[in-house]
């Protein structure tokens, strides 16, 4: 079977009788089996996906199929799917099965997607390489010695290797955009609050958002328009109307694009990544778009702000994993308190423990103002300064990551080094604005480079249309 990179091709071929849901599912299952060593699936819903494919094929024949019939997807291991296991890449959720389905997942099911399995990820979405999973690291299919990025690395590799067409990840500080960049695919982080988080395991609640992996922008747009929008189960989701992103993808006119000088003179920036970014900016300028360099002196402060606030929120969100209501419970505790401590110390991995400790520290009485409040103030400055840029420009462009996919083990000995992998993605997360990573060529090792484009709040329609324009040209 040919490799499909667009849902619209699939739907067309189904209508012509060239393919069917059952053929597609069998094809993806074969790929999953052949590339098991990549460790990107924690569970494959083989029989279920085949049975559902048969049902949806019948619906298609009757002309009653939903808008996503024929789309096969996978879910990062942090999204609830009723009566299916969910572990967040952690030992502490051993044996846990979701009691309900996340709103975003339900909306896709209602339009007849087929869910083929659950993707490996960094434990509780904390990591930039997919090496922090209790179920082993995920490998990048383009070079098995390299990481796929993280934390949604399994979901990215599943799309990269044609094990499904689209997958859902989550992006707190770059966890969709950075793996998309490392794997050579499209990864979208929408505006904060654009998509309901009901049924998403919380990491840092003022940052977390569901994101989408796909090969083409149009698939991403279609999935977004179906999962976005208000939800009575999530009081933080935006009530704003959801545009029909997928039918509004023609970009006409000339864009005003800013690029941040500090991102391109950064000492950690790989020269090939830099050159590809400059080439793209040059190209756009030649096409008649306005491309201007701007200053963003706060760049150095974005990552520290991000780490103080996300670890603080994580320490609170992860307090629920205590061995009482679900998951792993240590048998070594002799009373309630020691049961809590043993369960958490044995159940969580090292990076999660580090972040809980850091977060508890910055929230503790003596240090709260010096760290937590200070970071909230700097966050306001970063957000205001970013929004100000976006009042003059349509887009801000920068590399998605300072490097291409690094080697397994390259940054595992020093957490700070690993944190720097998020240097360019955290700005959009701290500011809450939408941002996308699209492929921007390969380095001399054949590893993909990502181009990141940020836009103002709720400007996804514009952002997606412009991304498509760049990918088509």
């Amino acid at each position: 079977m040919k490799k499909y990179t667009s849902y619209f091709q699939i739907r067309e071929d189904i209508e012509k009788g060239i393919t069917s849901c059952q053929k597609l599912v069998n094809y993806y299952l074969k790929n999953i089996h052949a590339k098991k060593h990549l460790n990107c699936f924690l569970e494959v819903y083989r029989d279920e996906a085949l049975a559902r494919a048969e049902q949806i094929d019948q619906k298609l024949t009757r002309g009653q199929a939903g808008r996503l019939a024929g789309m096969v997807i996978a879910l990062k291991d942090v999204l609830c799917y009723k009566d299916h296991a969910l572990q967040a890449g952690s030992k502490i959720l051993q044996g846990f099965e979701s009691q309900f389905t996340a709103t975003a997942v339900q909306r896709l099911l209602d339009e007849d997607v087929i869910i083929i399995g659950r993707n490996n990820c960094d434990e509780f979405a904390m990591g930039s390489s997919c090496e922090n999973s209790a179920y082993g690291p995920v490998l990048n299919d383009l070079d098995h010695e390299r990481v796929p990025g993280g934390s949604s690395g399994g979901a990215a590799v599943a799309v990269q290797t044609d094990m499904c067409l689209v997958s859902l990840g989550t992006d707190t500080g770059g966890s969709v955009r950075q793996p998309a960049s490392f794997c050579g695919i499209v990864g979208l982080k929408p505006t904060y609050s654009r998509i309901s988080r009901y049924g998403l395991l919380a990491y840092a609640s003022s940052f977390d958002i569901i994101g989408i992996f796909s090969h083409c922008v149009k698939d991403c747009a279609l999935v977004l328009e179906i999962i976005a929008g208000n939800d009575e189960f999530d009081s933080t989701v935006s009530q704003k109307e959801v545009p029909s992103y997928s039918t509004d993808l023609n970009y006409s006119g000339k864009a005003k694009i800013a690029y941040i000088k500090e991102t391109l003179v950064n000492h950690g920036l790989n020269s090939e990544v830099k050159n590809k970014t400059l080439e793209k900016l040059d190209f756009l300028s030649h096409q008649g778009h306005t491309v201007e360099a701007v200053d963003f002196p706060l760049l150095d402060y974005v990552l520290p702000t991000y780490y103080i606030l996300t670890t603080a929120e994580a320490s609170s969100n992860l307090s629920r994993y205590d061995g009482v209501k679900y998951g792993y419970r240590s048998s070594n505790g002799h009373n309630l308190e020691s049961m809590y401590k043993k369960t958490r110390s044995e159940g969580f991995g090292e990076e999660v423990i580090r972040r809980i400790m850091l977060g508890t520290f910055v929230l503790s009485a003596n240090y709260y103002d010096a760290y937590y409040t200070k970071a909230q103030k700097v966050r306001r400055l970063i957000k205001e300064k970013t929004k100000k840029l976006l009042s003059h420009y349509d887009f801000i462009m920068l590399p998605t990551s300072p490097t291409t996919a690094f080697k397994l083990g390259e940054h595992t000995s020093n957490p700070l080094e690993m944190y720097l992998a998020d240097l360019f993605t955290v700005q959009a997360s701290v500011a809450g604005i939408p941002s996308i990573s699209i492929p921007n060529g390969l380095d001399s090792n054949g590893m993909p480079i990502g181009l990141q484009i940020m836009a103002d709040d709720f400007q996804e329609a514009n952002l997606l249309a412009f991304s498509k324009y760049i990918m088509d040209n």
Binding site: S206, Y301, R329, G333, M339, M357, T360, K374, D457
Partner: protein, 95 residues
Amino acid sequence: MEIDRKVLQKIAHLARLEFDQNSEKQMIASLSEILDWVDKLNEVDTTNVEPLTNMSHESNVLREDIAQEPLDHERGLKNAPQRDADYFRVPKVLE
């Protein structure tokens, strides 16, 4: 910012975590290094800047409070590590 053993133990207790001697040493080193790095924020002048405490674009979106049973009893208990017919079971709270 240097973390000492006393601070680490206090934070660990607040977070309901515990460390053996070896991991305690590593955690002290690692946290101290990260805190040194985030201390960089002190270079930013935040005089008269209000902390940003809410990222939502709309606040207090309320819906009608309708009584319903989103999770039945058995489903609620289904993931319990230890349970009886009605309740989650935990180790003794009082000695």
